[in-house]
Symmetry: C2
Subunit: 330 residues, 2 copies
């Protein structure tokens, strides 16, 4: 029988150290209130038992769990792992643990996880939530909440603004002589998608280009690939895709039909999650998801510390990363 022995408690330490339980507690939290002698004895006793404070019990009495929740729509979407990793690192610096939640892009699941986390976390970071604004506000009213890539007034949020990057991308295409630009959209509910579509619209209008929209139902490789006929139908020579996965699918679909990139058509991705790992290497918009994760956690921790609500709207700018899927219009 392994793993069945209960962890040593504060009382056991107290007994073998010959002190009261409260002293043991102090030895760990406010050692300056105790004589160096006592602290030493207690630490030694604790050490000998392999005692490690039960964070759970501590939380019950203090209300401070030193846990935060992190909820993402899809762990396996390459946009999120860097964000998760950075969030994790930032939490770690403050001795916080992270509860990870995966919602499968489902609002109901978000709700479920949020309530399941209740009572175990001090606050949560909600990345790209699918929940309605109202529902988000309700949750925020119960517990500190930081949003990533969702712009709800009054709720602290960190937003990756693809605007500048997209504007650069369109300008880049215009410079290369492209006059008809197709935007291949992502999920309709997504804040990012709306933002990107608008950015393309604005840039094309300003530069006097034509813009068409092609709909990809979900942001992934296959969906991108399937949009290729529609893209061809638009007669566009420049394509801006919702994200890199979609762009990669488009690349594949184009290649399949013998349409050369960038000779016949130029393609720009968004989020730079594939690095240079496509062929040809994808021109794309930088994503900064890792910074977003770090900042979101830092913000949450700050709110937790100051116990003050902050209506922060933290913007991370993006820029264009030119690789080899863009070239002069044919």
């Amino acid at each position: 029988m392994i793993g069945k022995n209960r962890a040593p408690t504060i009382s056991q330490v107290a007994i073998i150290a010959g002190v009261n339980r409260s002293s043991v507690s102090r030895a760990f939290n406010r050692p300056e209130l105790l004589s160096a002698q006592t602290v030493a004895t207690i630490k030694a006793a604790a050490e000998s038992l392999g005692y490690v404070p039960n964070r759970n019990a501590r939380a019950l009495s203090t209300g401070r769990h030193s846990n935060i929740g992190l909820i993402v729509p899809d762990v396996a979407n390459p946009f999120f792992p860097p964000l998760i990793r950075a969030a994790q690192g930032e939490a770690d610096r403050s001795d916080f643990c992270i509860f990870l939640g995966n919602t499968d892009e489902d609002a109901a699941q978000e709700d479920k996880l949020l309530t399941r986390f209740a009572g175990q976390v001090e606050g949560v970071v909600l990345a790209s939530p699918r929940l309605s604004d109202d529902r988000i506000r309700e949750h925020a009213a119960r517990k500190p909440l930081v949003l990533v890539n969702r712009d709800v007034a009054g709720i602290p949020r960190v937003l990756i603004d693809s605007g500048p990057g997209i504007a650069e991308a369109v300008a880049h295409l215009a410079t290369l002589g492209h006059r008809r630009i197709a935007y291949v959209s992502g999920p309709g509910i997504s804040w990012s998608n709306k933002q990107r579509r608008i950015a393309v619209r604005k840039a094309t209008t300003r530069l006097g280009l034509e813009m068409m929209t092609v709909r990809a139902l979900v942001p992934n490789f296959e969906a991108g690939q399937r949009t290729v006929p529609d893209i061809i139908a638009t007669g566009a020579t420049g394509v801006v895709a919702f994200d890199d996965l979609t762009a990669q699918g488009i690349l594949a679909g184009l290649n399949e039909r013998g349409i050369r990139v960038p000779d016949d058509i130029s393609v720009v991705g968004c989020d730079d999650v594939l690095g240079a790992a496509t062929y040809p290497p994808l021109t794309t918009v930088s994503n900064r998801s890792s910074e977003a994760g770090k900042v979101a956690v830092a913000l949450l921790l700050d709110i937790l510390n100051t116990r003050a609500t902050q209506d922060v709207r933290y913007i991370l700018d993006t820029h264009l990363v030119i690789r080899r899927t863009t070239a002069p219009a044919p």
Copy 2:
């Protein structure tokens, strides 16, 4: 001031429902012990307050947290997100929450997280741990532990065996008439690399093929791309790469030089982390990291339920996934 209101407690519900606190508890955990009437009243009261049981407090009294830990070396390594996602899904089915830990491939960090999780989780899944066997055993003695891709006798573990998949790959190439096979290796220190190289060696020997090894220093796109001249130099018509990232780099490097895949040369990857997202879609060896995550959690949950130690050694075989980078030898 948002997010400062304490969550409603069982006592508040009890008061407005006009019952004892224990009845409220029963209404949620053992409703069959109460009259339907009482349950209804209580549920209504709870609902009106927005009461949700505090899992933390429950855990303190029952010893069951319904939380597990999941520790991985690097969230951003594409091998892990599917594992994490599947683990999460499996835990979710049993209403378990997951603490996620990232160790940056660092044994000390593993230790740290393991103790930080103590008292908050019932057990943990350790993926590809860097800790010593002894240390792992110590941790396993305190709390149920399931290992992924680490073979320590006596500790329940799930192992992904790339051997069969690689053997299939080589056989597949042989069937297609390839006689000279190049293995593009991964990092020398890696256990997986060793395992895979040996598998290629064994299969080529058995089938009477020639095998050459080409060294890629790190397993990524650029390194793979840089091996192309060496690959060409070997005169091999079939290539087995350490992993998909390397294979993708090779694809790009080949394409750059006008060498057609699969017409001129066949390429096989390993780990199937890219799905069909390369062009041409990559023939590769399945990795099953997602199943590993699912199985590991299921195993852990089972151990938790039965409260019995099980010396399980769960092997996940791999197989060849034939896509479009392999064809008859020229």
